[in-house]
Amino acid sequence: MAAPRTLFDKIWQSHLVERQRDGTAILYIDRHLVHEVTSPQAFEGLRLAGRKVRRPDATIAVADHNIPTTDRAGGIKDAESRLQVETLEANCKEFGVPYIPVADVRQGIVHIIGPEQGMSQPGMTIVCGDSHTSTHGAFGALAFGIGTSEVEHVLATQTLVTRPSKNMRVNVSGRLPLGCTSKDLVLAIIGKIGTAGGTGHVIEYAGEAVRALSMEARMTMCNMTIEGGARAGLIAPDETTFAYLEGRPMAPKAGQWEQALAYWKTLPSDTGAVYDKEVTLDAAAIAPHVSWGTSPQQVLPITGVIPDPKEAPDEGTREAWTRALAYMGLEPGTPLSEIKVDTVFIGSCTNGRIEDLRAAAALVKGRRVAQGVRALVVPGSGLVKEQAESEGLDSVFQAAGFEWREPGCSMCLAMNADRLEPGQRCASTSNRNFEGRQGRGGRTHLVSPVMAAAAAVKGKLTDVRELIS
């Protein structure tokens, strides 16, 4: 009998075009997502070398990083942003790549629209010039971010030259308690393994708690896998996955659906498959999490206090904590729940899906955004926005004092006009709390959508469990 294989092993082996003698492999890529920021130099490279896009039909492009989230009728005011979006449009036209225009209702963050359109499917290899491509791993697809040179390589050849990753499994037993989400879970995992804990590995999430998660919640976990150093996260496809996919525009159609389904059911890791690294957590012991520093591993339960660098386990950590506290303007010993915020951002490829907006709206309903707090909701796509509006969520948010925006990456990375001013402090549902990430001098606390909503109504980081019965 063949040796038991992991989900990763199965996807890897089924996409090998050629194993080369030096240990590298030519890996076939099924789907390629393209956006305006990391693609212009790749298309330029093709043009200079007189090369074509091998499979425009397996490629899809959308502008998301740069675009305004306010009224777009007047176009993009920022000249550089406008040129970048226009360049993407022109490149797609020249190379025959399907492009979702900014005015199209399907426009949105690249990692929201892939799943939404049914493009991201179990067993696929999916790449994009964006590190959060790991999101699509929620479908049991091998999905990872690549640089611009590799974007060009995939455009030209539909392959990548690479080496296999190691297998890592994170087992999560139990069930998440009330008020806790997959965002809290993944923050807790990153806190445990560190931002380099997954380097060189693909992380498969398994266990009762993961099986119980919706697709949206699984996407949040896989999305932030890159923050744990692994290029890709994986969750075995199951009935939840299949139910989410069925009927979506790019999902397999009747006739092929059954065939695809039969194949997808063969993908989960075999019993006895061996992992290079294993980590175990109990979901029942998770509390709502908040990041306090400038690295996603600097997280604590909301009930915690700002740590003291004097108590750091080693010199490097002490320096990192000291630097983080100086940047964040925080003192050791301060309870997290006493930290005031002036900005709240709900959105991003991490938490900009309909379920995220529903959860936040349910908490906000009948409450008001605290005085002095600017709160934004940026839906992940035009379709998320449309769905939310059909459920009246926009009215709930606006009645509470939130701004209701057009879809895009927005304040997650602040490439457009949505950004923090120096010293501003934000409870954010995004994925990175690096220095300057949300604007030069801006201070980010990563939280779940309900924790962000709680922070908005209280004007400070708040244990959401105090607001739910």
Partner: protein, 201 residues
């Protein structure tokens, strides 16, 4: 691609862990449609204050590190965003080799696509080179011999994937190499089309 064989020059010490690509080059410089001219943006928020003046305490603003060709730094260098603008900015500044105990995967890969050599070494050896860098000593990175030569002539060996080494030494066009495999790719596609037709629309 530019070849990389040996590199002799000043090494700048940056004793920080988890240096992320947002720090290496902030997002406001990602709006370019070119890959050149990004050296001025390297470590922008560390190098310049709010008024755009140089911060004299930042290493790359001090002699002799303005001419640095090598960077010695802490673990998990290049974590975060996949932006290739990070290695582009380093190379445009003049830094073509980074020495650290560990690197984030995407950044590490991106370097090799741009004729740059990231070198992983055990922490104790990085520490030695960090001290050399702080003293302003020159280092020589010798890729053919897979070692770093210090000012006193002693050598520190490093390991590198043979494929990546060849690509750097010969400045190979990786896309060109893969395009030579077109018949294999077409063969794979034909098989996949037959066995997994739903992947083909």
């Amino acid at each position: 691609m530019q070849k990389f064989t040996t590199l002799k020059g000043r090494a700048a010490p940056l004793p920080m862990v988890n240096v992320d690509t947002d720090m290496i080059i902030p997002k406001n410089f990602l709006k370019t449609i070119k890959r050149s001219g990004l050296g001025k943006a390297l470590f922008f928020e560390k190098r310049y204050d709010d008024q755009g003046r140089e911060r004299p305490d930042f290493v790359l603003n001090r002699a002799p590190y303005r001419e640095a060709k090598i960077l010695v730094t802490g673990e998990n260098f290049g974590c975060g965003s996949s932006r290739e603008h990070a290695p582009w900015a380093l190379a445009d500044f003049g830094i073509r080799s980074v020495i650290a105990p560990s690197f984030a995967d995407i950044f590490y890969n991106n370097c090799f696509k741009n004729g740059m050599l990231p070198i992983k070494l055990p922490p104790q050896e990085v520490e030695l080179l960090m001290e050399d860098a702080k003293r302003g000593a020159e280092l020589t990175v010798d890729l053919p011999k897979e070692c770093i030569r210090r000012a006193d002539g002693s050598e520190i060996a490093f390991e590198i994937d043979p494929f990546l080494k060849t690509c750097l030494l010969e400045g190979l066009d990786e896309i060109g190499l893969s395009l030579q495999k077109a018949p294999f790719i077409a063969n794979f596609e034909a098989k996949q089309r037959a066995s997994q037709p739903w992947l083909w629309r």
